[in-house]
Assembly symmetry: C2
Homo-oligomer: 473 residues x 2
C-alpha cells in the first residue's frame, strides 16, 4: 500500500502557496483519483500520518483534506474502520474531462442575412465612457434587487428620447424594460391570454419566431395581407374575434413599405371601436434615409398601442435590452407576467444605456449609423443598377434590408447559387405566413450585416447570384 | 384664424439648430396642440405659406412638418379640402404628462432581511477595469445574437473557477448561463415537466418564491424535514413518485446547517437508483468562515446533479447573472426551454465577469467579502453574547445570515418590536413549507445587508428587539 501511495503522491501537482494550497491540491488529486477509478469504492486509505510522510507534508494537511472529503461525501470515516473511498463515489465512465471547445463561428464569410446591424460598428469607446460614468454615479441600490419595470434612470432617459425622436407619448411610469423584443413579445402573449384574447392578427409577411411566441402563448394568428401600403388594417373588422394586432408601421418587415396614413387610421379606429390592442414593432424606426423618420403610431393613441422598441438594431443585439411603452392599464399586468422576481436585465447595463442616451452619444451613434447604412444602401442600389439592371430593388427608404425581386421561380436557384458562393441570404417566401397567398419570388438582403472589409466581396458575390438567376431561361 | 395661429406660434419652443430642429419643434407643438384638445378633430389648418409667415420660418419647413404629420396619421390632406386635424386624433383625457417619479427607496433604514449581500461593497473600480479589458478584447460577434448557452468565455472561466473553488465537475459544454437563480430554476421547472416529472421534493424550510416557480411549472412539492444534519434525504425513498429534489447542501437556507455526509450519500444513492435529479442550490457556497468551504455535491455525481450558482451573493443581484452546470443529457433540453431566441443576459456583462474571474479579481473579492462578513458575524455573536446572552445563535458557520432562537411565541412580538424600531427582519416561520410541522420561534437575520455606516445602529436596534421579547413573561 505504501508503495502505491508513494507513486500516487508523485503524481500530485501540489501548489506551494502555504498549507491551504497544499490541502486543496491534495483534495483535487484524491477526487480525481476516485473519478478516474484509480481509487475504487471501499478502498481503505493510508492513515494521515503515513500519507503525510510519503508526501513530505504536514500531517494536519492530510487530516484536514480527509475531513473535508468526508464532509463532501467522497470518503467515509468510521470508528475502527479508518478512512475509505465512499461506495457511491463511482468512477466516471468517461474518465477524461472534455476539452473546452472554443467558439466556432457558424457564420459564412459573406453574410447578407437580414436582422442584424453591423456589429463591428458598436461604439466601444463611447459605451465604455458611459459605463464608467454610470458605474461611478450609481446608487448602491442599483446593485441590489430592483424595480421589475427596470431602472428608473433608463425609463426616464427613454421617455425623453422616444418622445423626441419617435413621437412616442411616453412617461417613465408606463415603460417596462425587457431583455429585447422577443422577451417583450413573450410577455405580451402571456398578458393577452390572461385577458382572454384568442386571436392576434399578424402581417402576412414577417418573422416566424415572433409568430411562434404568440402561438406558444395559446393565440391563433390570422394574417392581414400586406400590399404596397403596408398591412391591410382595414381588414381587421372583417376577421372575427381579433383582440390584438402585431404591426411594423414604420417599415414593414420584410417588404419595407411604411404603413399608409389611411391604414394607420384604420388600425387606430379599429382599436378604439373594439378595445383591441395594437402591438407596434418599431424595430428599426430610427433608420430612415430620404426623409425624417415617420413617428410612431403609438403617439396617436397611447391607450390602445403597445410600443415595442429595442437596442438590438440601433446598438447591438448582444446588449439584450428592449423596452415597452404601455397603455396605463396594462403596466401592472405586464409586470405580473414578467414575474415579480425576474429582473431580467443587468442594472449596470441599464444605467449605462441611460447615460449613453442622456449624454447624447445615442443620438450621435444613430446619426453616424444612419449615414453608414445609407451609404451601404446607395452602394447596393448603384451596383445593382449597373451590373444587374433587371432586378427591381424595393423597401429601401429605411431600415437595414432591401427586397430584390426575381423572375418567377427564381428563389430556389438563387439560394443554390448563394450556397455555391458561400453567401448567406434569405428568400422572401421564408417570411410568408403559412396561410397567406404565395407572393413574388424575391430575396431579402440585410445590407447592414457585413463588416466594412467584407462588403465589397459580398456585393460581388450577390451580383453573381443574381446573374445566375436572371440569365436562366 | 390668423390671430389664433399667431398666438399659437408664440407658444412654440422652436429649437434653432437649423431647419430640422425647427421642423421637429413645430411637429411637437402641433402634436401637443392636438393632444391637449387645442386643435380639435376636423379643424382646418392654415396654409403652410400663411403659418410660415406667422412664425417667420421657411414655408418648406411648415410643408414638411405637415407632410410628416399626415404620414403619421395626425393630420389629413385631401385635394380641395386642405390640411385638417384627423378625426381619430382625439384629445387625451389627461392633458398633462405625468411627472416622472424618482426612485423611492422602499427599504427601511435598518435592514436585516436575509437574501442580499452588502451591495455597498460592490467592487466598482475592479469591475470597471474588467469591463474595459473585456470590451476592448471582445470579438465583434459578442455584439450579435449568440449561443443560447451564453458566452463561451464565461462558461470557460466558470468551469475553471467552479472546479477549483467548489469541487464542481464542470466543463464549458455543460454550463448554461442564466439571468440568475430564479431564471435557472424556472428553466428546470419547464424541463422537469417535459420529462413528465410530477413531484419535486423541497426542504421543509426554504424560500417560497422558489417553491412557487416549481408549482407554477405544474409540479407538486412534497417536503423533506430539515434537522440538525440538514434535509432528511433518507426520506426520499419513502415519498412516492419524486423525480427531483431541490437542496441547499452547503448551507441549508435558512437553518444554516450543512448537509451531513450520510445525507449527501443518501441523496446521491436515491438519484442513482431512481434516475432522479438533485437540484443543488449553491447560493452562498463561497462564504464559509471557520474552515474551507464544503465542496459541491455535484462533484460526486455530475450526471444526477444540476448545480445552480449565482453572482447575486458573491457580487451583486443587480448583475442578473447565474449559471447551471448540467448533466450532459440535459443540456439540450435546458437550451430548448430557454428558447432559442431568448439570450437573456448581456454579452458584455458576461464577458466582463469572465475577465473578472480570469484576472483573479473574483477570488480577491470573495476573500475580502469573506473577511468582511466573518467580521460582521463575529460582531453579531459578540454583541448578542454580551447584551442578549439568552438568545441562541445558530447557522453561523457560513453564509450571510444567522438564526436567533426566541422563547415560544416570541416571533410575533419580535416582529412588532422590530417594526417599532424601524428594523426589517424575517421570522423563521416565514420560511416554513405550508405542510411542514411547526418549528421553533426564531428570527432569520441577514447580517450582510446593512452598509458599514448603518451596521452599529442596526445591531443596537436588534438588541432592543430581543430585549423586548426575552423580557416578556
Amino acid at each position: 500500500m505504501k508503495d502505491s501511495w508513494a507513486t500516487f503522491g508523485a503524481d500530485l501537482h501540489l501548489e506551494t502557496k502555504g498549507s491551504t494550497g497544499l490541502r486543496a491540491g491534495l483534495m483535487d488529486a484524491l477526487r480525481e483519483a476516485v473519478r478516474t477509478g484509480r481509487l475504487t469504492p471501499g478502498t481503505k486509505l493510508p492513515s494521515s500520518r503515513s500519507l503525510a510522510a510519503d508526501l513530505g507534508i504536514a500531517r494536519n494537511t492530510v487530516a484536514d483534506a480527509y475531513a473535508e472529503l468526508v464532509a463532501e461525501g467522497w470518503l467515509t470515516a468510521r470508528q475502527g474502520s479508518g478512512t475509505r473511498v465512499a461506495r457511491r463515489a463511482e468512477p466516471r465512465r468517461t474518465a477524461t474531462r472534455a476539452v473546452p471547445s472554443r467558439p466556432v463561428s457558424s457564420r459564412p464569410a459573406r453574410n447578407l442575412m437580414p436582422g442584424s446591424p453591423d456589429v463591428s460598428s458598436f461604439p466601444r469607446a463611447e459605451w465604455l465612457k458611459a459605463s464608467r460614468r454610470a458605474l461611478t454615479a450609481a446608487p448602491n441600490d442599483a446593485f441590489g434587487y430592483g424595480d421589475p419595470r427596470g431602472r428608473v434612470e433608463l425609463r426616464t432617459a427613454l421617455a425623453g428620447y422616444l418622445a423626441r425622436a419617435r413621437g412616442v407619448y411616453a412617461d417613465p411610469e408606463r415603460i417596462v424594460i425587457s431583455a429585447g423584443f422577443v422577451h417583450a413579445l413573450k410577455l405580451m402573449g402571456t398578458v393577452l391570454r390572461k385577458r382572454r384574447v384568442r386571436e392576434a392578427a399578424v402581417e402576412s409577411y414577417g418573422l416566424d419566431v415572433h409568430w411562434r411566441l404568440l402561438t406558444d402563448a395559446g393565440l391563433r394568428i390570422p394574417h392581414l395581407p400586406v400590399d404596397e401600403h403596408g398591412a391591410r388594417t382595414d381588414d381587421l373588422d372583417r376577421i372575427r374575434g381579433i383582440g390584438a394586432v402585431l404591426l411594423t408601421p414604420a417599415h414593414q418587415f420584410p417588404t419595407g413599405v411604411p404603413l399608409h396614413p389611411d391604414r394607420r387610421a384604420a388600425a387606430v379606429d379599429w382599436a378604439r371601436r373594439t378595445g383591441g390592442l395594437i402591438l407596434e414593432d418599431d424595430y428599426d424606426g430610427e433608420f430612415r434615409y430620404d426623409r425624417q423618420p415617420i413617428g410612431a403610431l403609438q403617439g396617436l393613441d397611447p391607450e390602445h398601442v403597445v410600443y415595442l422598441g429595442t437596442a438590438s438594431k440601433s446598438l447591438a443585439p448582444g446588449l439584450r435590452l428592449g423596452w415597452m411603452v404601455l397603455p396605463e392599464r396594462l403596466v401592472g399586468e405586464v409586470v405580473e407576467a414578467k414575474g415579480i422576481n425576474d429582473w431580467s436585465s443587468s442594472a449596470l447595463e441599464q444605467l449605462t444605456l441611460a447615460e449613453f442616451i442622456e449624454s447624447g452619444a445615442y443620438d450621435r451613434h444613430v446619426r453616424a449609423m444612419r449615414l453608414h447604412y445609407r451609404h451601404r444602401r446607395d452602394q447596393l442600389v448603384a451596383v445593382l443598377a449597373e451590373r444587374a439592371p433587371d432586378v427591381r430593388v424595393s423597401g429601401i427608404a429605411a431600415g437595414l434590408h432591401a427586397v430584390l425581386e426575381l423572375p418567377e421561380g427564381g428563389e430556389a436557384s438563387a439560394l443554390r447559387a448563394a450556397a455555391w458562393q458561400g453567401l448567406a441570404l434569405e428568400a422572401f417566401s421564408r417570411f410568408r405566413h403559412p396561410e397567406a397567398a404565395p407572393g413574388p419570388d424575391a430575396l431579402v438582403i440585410g445590407y447592414g450585416t457585413p463588416t466594412d472589409s467584407a462588403w465589397a466581396g459580398t456585393l460581388d458575390a450577390l451580383v453573381h447570384v443574381l446573374w445566375s438567376v436572371t440569365s436562366e431561361p
